[in-house]
């Protein structure tokens, strides 16, 4: 298996693992989120529901306790409304009014005696009818059966006594009460400037009762309810009084109701002792508003610092009377349950949810494993199959029957495999065919190259010869035709200087090829690269006594490194020898003609001289003799001129340097020579010269070439007719056209006129080399010649030569070792 991204195998997770993890992820995340949300929502719900329940419970408990206190107040009201009590206190009021208030000293004395429990004083207070009445009310004698003082209230009552309008004790059941109460808050509150009001005192420690108590003080109004005539005071043990009502309300292990006052002092609680303050007084403002409610607090007031839900409610009627007014204090119920217990159900639920969640995760994992295996197995089969297809050795079809996309995919794989096999089979046969074709082509090429008599070598850029055709093998005595790999210069027997030249040419060729590649120009692969990039590099070299023309060419490979360089060598030893012979023969023939011409030219004056000489011999007349001598001299001069003309030709023949020559002058000279060698009385010459055309050539050879063309034209007209000579200049080419009015050339001969030894003249009349030589000479000078002819309308011979640039003739002439000018020729 390949690693497409190159990661280490250790971090790579298989499809199966991913599928299982995906399923787990898909399952676990909603599960955890759901569990969390359920837990949170559950907690909120429980808190809200508990809060509302606590609030309701607190309200209900407050109502109950309110009623309880109210009942107690009503019970005391019966005492204060008792006519006996009212009348007795009215009388005491009137008596006080009549006799004036007793002095402070007298009262202090009485108090001392009361404290000392002097029997007389004690009896005057505890044994009076009023005290008996109080006792009766306490024991329930005066109550109807339904209104019997409950036992609890009775035992909770620590003191019950009456005072007069001065706060002085009037009647009491026991000796515990103080004698003077005028300065007591409860007394001031209940007396209330003789207006009177219910006064419920907050819980406090009473040393006489030796417990935490609260008190109820009621004014005794006169019979008109006009003013206060006394105060009834009841001291009640708070815990004893309230606990039967608060302690029974328990829920769960810790849930309970308690009663507190506005200072946060506990009046009754199953857990906290009466009289202590709540552990966290910052709770007090939260739980003592005048409306029932519930709150989530950071502590429970019982010493715990967990978040707690607390329900609370005021005792509305009682609070109205506490310490005289609601502003001075109020009583509240407080319902609380420990958070641990309160949230136990949700904790329990959470535990179970975690357990179920774990089970669900385990189930997810196992189901995921099963599902992933079911998915992954066919995928792995497909993977194996793909690998087999890749190796090309899948023989049997893939069998997956899952009935889903994987089965379709397997079918597609099978189909693809079949198509691939078919395609491969076709490809193989095509490759075979092409290989055969290539082999055939190679063989053909080899055979063709082998039949070529020219040695051809192919080498790589490292100058290693990789191929040599038969001519090369024979020439360079290469034995093995097969796997050839020899350095070039071990095959070519050349001297080091030539090797150097060749190597430089090779390098230059490489650079040129490189330049060409870099230029990015599209190249016709069939065109020989060397011909174009390095034109005219057709050199010659001497090897083993033979002369070779060589030419480089490039075989482009698939890459620049695989380019090959070819070397074509042409043995020109025989050819140049033959050519020299032909030129020599032509020269000899021309010399013969020339000699005949010279003879003819010289014969006439010579015969004239001879005749004049004979005449002088016989003539006596000196005058005539002088005349004859004069004629002889003129004839001699004529001969001398003729000879000088020819010697001028001869003297330049030896010169092998190209010089600038006037084309038109050379034409005129050639025409003059023609005229001297042949009697051409009926020849009309028309000249249309543009003038000043200069070309670079050997004058004699150029004149010979032109002479050949002129001779050809004149001979075509049989010496009589119109010869038209025209020079023109086109670009950097000088053009000379020689037209005759002869019969023209037949079309079938037109293509052969430049062939050597082709002639239409009779035996002995022409060598058939005239035009051949002319063309050879002209091409040597970089020019060319072509024949235009229409049968019956004469023939025009057009010569082109490269024009000498005007600036070049001013420079000192530097002869070059003729880089062989092989201009492409398009004429036949």
């Amino acid at each position: 298996m390949t690693q497409p991204d190159g990661r280490p195998r250790g971090t790579r997770w298989g499809l199966q693992t991913k599928l299982i993890l995906s399923m787990l992820f898909v399952g676990v995340v909603p599960l955890v989120v759901g569990l969390g949300m359920a837990f949170w929502q559950g907690s909120q719900e429980i808190r809200d529901v508990s809060g509302e329940s606590f609030k309701a419970l607190a309200t209900e408990a407050a109502r109950k306790l309110d009623l309880l206190v109210g009942e107690e107040v009503a019970r005391n009201s019966r005492i204060v409304n008792d006519e006996t009590v009212v009348r007795a206190l009215e009388r005491r009021r009137d008596a006080l009014h009549a006799s004036g208030a007793p002095s402070a000293a007298a009262l202090a004395e009485l108090e001392r005696r009361w404290r000392a429990q002097e029997p007389a004083v004690v009896k005057s207070i505890t044994e009076t009818p009023l005290s008996a009445l109080l006792r009766d009310y306490y024991t329930g004698t005066h109550s109807e059966s339904a209104q019997l003082l409950p036992q609890v209230v009775r035992t909770a009552t620590k003191m019950l006594f009456l005072t007069d309008t001065q706060g002085v004790l009037v009647a009491a059941m026991t000796t515990k009460p103080d004698f003077l109460n005028h300065d007591a808050r409860w007394w001031q509150g209940a007396y209330n400037k003789a207006v009177g009001q219910l006064y419920v005192e907050d819980v406090h420690f009473d040393p006489r009762a030796d417990t935490y108590v609260f008190t109820i003080s009621l004014p005794v109004m006169d019979s008109l309810r006009y003013e206060v005539v006394g105060v009834l005071h009841r001291v009640i043990d708070a815990k004893e009084f309230f606990s039967p009502y608060t302690h029974v309300i328990r829920f769960g292990k810790t849930g309970h109701v308690m009663l507190i006052d506005s200072r946060g002092v506990v009046m009754s609680c199953p857990i906290l002792p009466t009289g202590v303050s709540l552990s966290d007084l910052s709770l007090v403002p939260l739980i003592t508003p005048f409306q029932p409610g519930w709150v989530q607090a950071s502590s429970d007031g019982h010493g715990g610092h967990q978040t707690s839900v607390i329900g609370f409610a005021p005792l509305p009627e009682t609070s109205r009377a506490t310490n005289g007014s609601p502003d001075s204090g109020s009583w509240h119920t407080f319902v609380w349950q420990s958070s641990d217990e309160l949230f136990a159900p949700i904790q329990h639920l959470f535990t179970w949810m975690v357990v179920f969640g774990t089970v669900a995760v385990a189930l997810l994992a196992s189901l995921g494993y099963v599902a992933a295996t079911r998915i992954v197995t066919p995928v792995r089969q497909l993977q194996q199959a793909a690998r087999s297809i890749g190796r090309g050795d899948l023989r049997s079809a893939i069998r997956i029957q899952t009935g889903d996309e994987l089965e379709d995919l397997a079918d597609e794989f099978n189909r693809m495999n079949q198509q691939l096999e078919a395609a491969f089979a076709g490809l193989t046969s095509q490759v075979q065919l092409k290989t055969e074709e290539v082999q055939y082509l190679q063989q053909s090429t080899d055979q063709i190259l082998d039949t070529v008599p020219t040695p051809i070598l192919l080498m790589d850029p490292q100058e290693q010869v990789t191929y040599a055709n038969r001519a090369a093998r024979e020439t360079f005595a290469i034995a093995a035709p097969g796997n050839l790999r020899e350095p070039l210069f071990s095959l070519l027997p050349v001297d080091p200087a030539t090797q150097h030249v060749l190597r430089e040419e090779l390098l230059a060729r490489d650079a040129a090829a490189l330049d060409e590649r870099e230029a990015g120009s599209a190249r016709d692969p069939l065109a020989p690269a060397g011909e174009r990039s390095v034109p005219g590099r057709r050199g010659e070299l001497q090897m083993a006594g033979r002369c070779y023309q060589y030419q480089w060419f490039r075989l482009p490979g698939r890459s620049p490194d695989q380019d090959r360089i070819g070397l074509v060598l042409r043995d020109t030893t025989d050819e140049s020898r033959l050519q020299d012979q032909v030129i020599q023969a032509e020269k000899s023939r021309s010399l013969g003609v020339l000699a005949a011409g010279i003879g003819h030219e010289l014969n006439n004056p010579l015969f004239g001289i001879m005749g004049l000489g004979e005449a002088i011999q016989e003539e006596q007349n000196l005058e005539r003799i002088k005349t004859y001598a004069q004629d002889i001299i003129s004839q001699g001069r004529r001969m001398a001129r003729i000879i000088r003309d020819f010697t001028g030709v001869a003297s330049r023949e030896s010169c092998d340097q190209r010089v600038p020559v006037h084309l038109e002058e050379e034409v005129d000279k050639a025409l003059a020579t023609l005229r001297t060698t042949a009697d051409l009385p009926n020849l009309t010459v028309e000249k249309h010269y543009v003038g000043g055309l200069r070309v670079l050539a050997l004058p004699d050879q150029l004149r010979q070439a032109i002479s050949n063309l002129l001779t050809n034209a004149v001979q075509a007209m049989n010496g009589s007719g119109r010869l038209t000579l025209r020079t023109t200049q086109g670009g950097n080419v000088a053009m000379l056209s020689i037209g005759d009015s002869g019969p023209g050339i037949a079309k079938q001969h037109l293509s052969k006129v430049f062939d050597p030894f082709f002639t239409t003249k009779g035996q002995g009349e022409g060598s058939g080399l005239g035009l051949t030589i002319a063309r050879r000479i002209l091409r040597k000078f970089g020019g060319d010649v072509r024949i235009e002819s229409l049968e019956g309308q004469g023939t025009t011979c057009v010569v082109t030569l490269p024009l000498l640039p005007p600036d070049q003739e001013k420079e000192p002439w530097t002869a070059t070792a003729s880089p062989s000018a092989s201009q492409p020729s398009h004429s036949s």
Binding site: R87, R91, D94, R225, E227, Q291
Partner: protein, 195 residues
């Protein structure tokens, strides 16, 4: 607090009127000596009380309730509400009493919501009975507590506002629940000590 201050002012005014009446040097033969007769004082006080309570009822309680700003409720301290008109009068009576000037007034009824507002004496009981049938003036008389004597005038007290009727007809502790507007619901007892 404003209400209380307002009530104190009214009560003070009433007392000034009453006090000044008592100081007048007249009618030596009458038990209350020279000055304004107590029935007149009671009339003055009653007129002021009636006016004050009517203004409070119509222009404070009814208006605030109609505009939905604040309602009147029995437990007004806890409910952040206005005192009921009857409570207004009772509380002002308490304030007056606490000032110790002697004159006191309270509302009484034969069918009270709280027993503390029931008639305290036979005189009061009979006066209420009288007023139920003939409610065009106060029932007055001299009453005594021990050796003390007081002039008492019981004025008929009518349901001046729909709120009065609604509350008394719906209160769980109310023994009578068929009051109508302008019914005589009870009486205002004004007590003036006779020295």
């Amino acid at each position: 607090m404003d209400c209380n201050r307002f009530t104190v002012g009214v009560a003070t005014l009433a007392l000034i009127v009453g006090g000044s009446g008592a100081a007048l040097p007249h009618a030596k033969d009458k038990p209350w000596g020279s000055g304004i007769p107590p029935d007149k004082v009671a009339d003055y006080v009653h007129a002021i009380l009636e006016a004050d309570r009517t203004i409070y009822t119509k222009h404070v309680v009814d208006r605030m309730q109609q505009k939905g700003i604040v309602a009147a409720a029995e437990h007004w301290e806890q409910d952040n509400a206005l005192p009921l008109p009857a409570q207004f009068l009772q509380h002002s009576g308490r304030l007056v009493a606490e000032q110790g000037r002697g004159i006191r007034y309270r509302l009484i009824s034969a069918t009270p919501i709280y027993q503390r507002n029931a008639p305290a004496t036979d005189f009061e009981r009979k006066a209420l009975e009288t007023l139920r049938s003939k409610a065009d003036g106060p029932v007055t008389g001299i009453v005594s507590s021990g050796k003390r004597q007081y002039f008492q005038a019981i004025y008929p007290d009518r349901a001046v506002s729909a709120a009065c009727v609604a509350c008394h007809n719906s209160h769980p502790l109310s023994p009578k629940r068929d009051f109508k507007l302008n019914d005589v619901m009870g009486g205002m007892a004004i007590t003036i000590p006779i020295e």
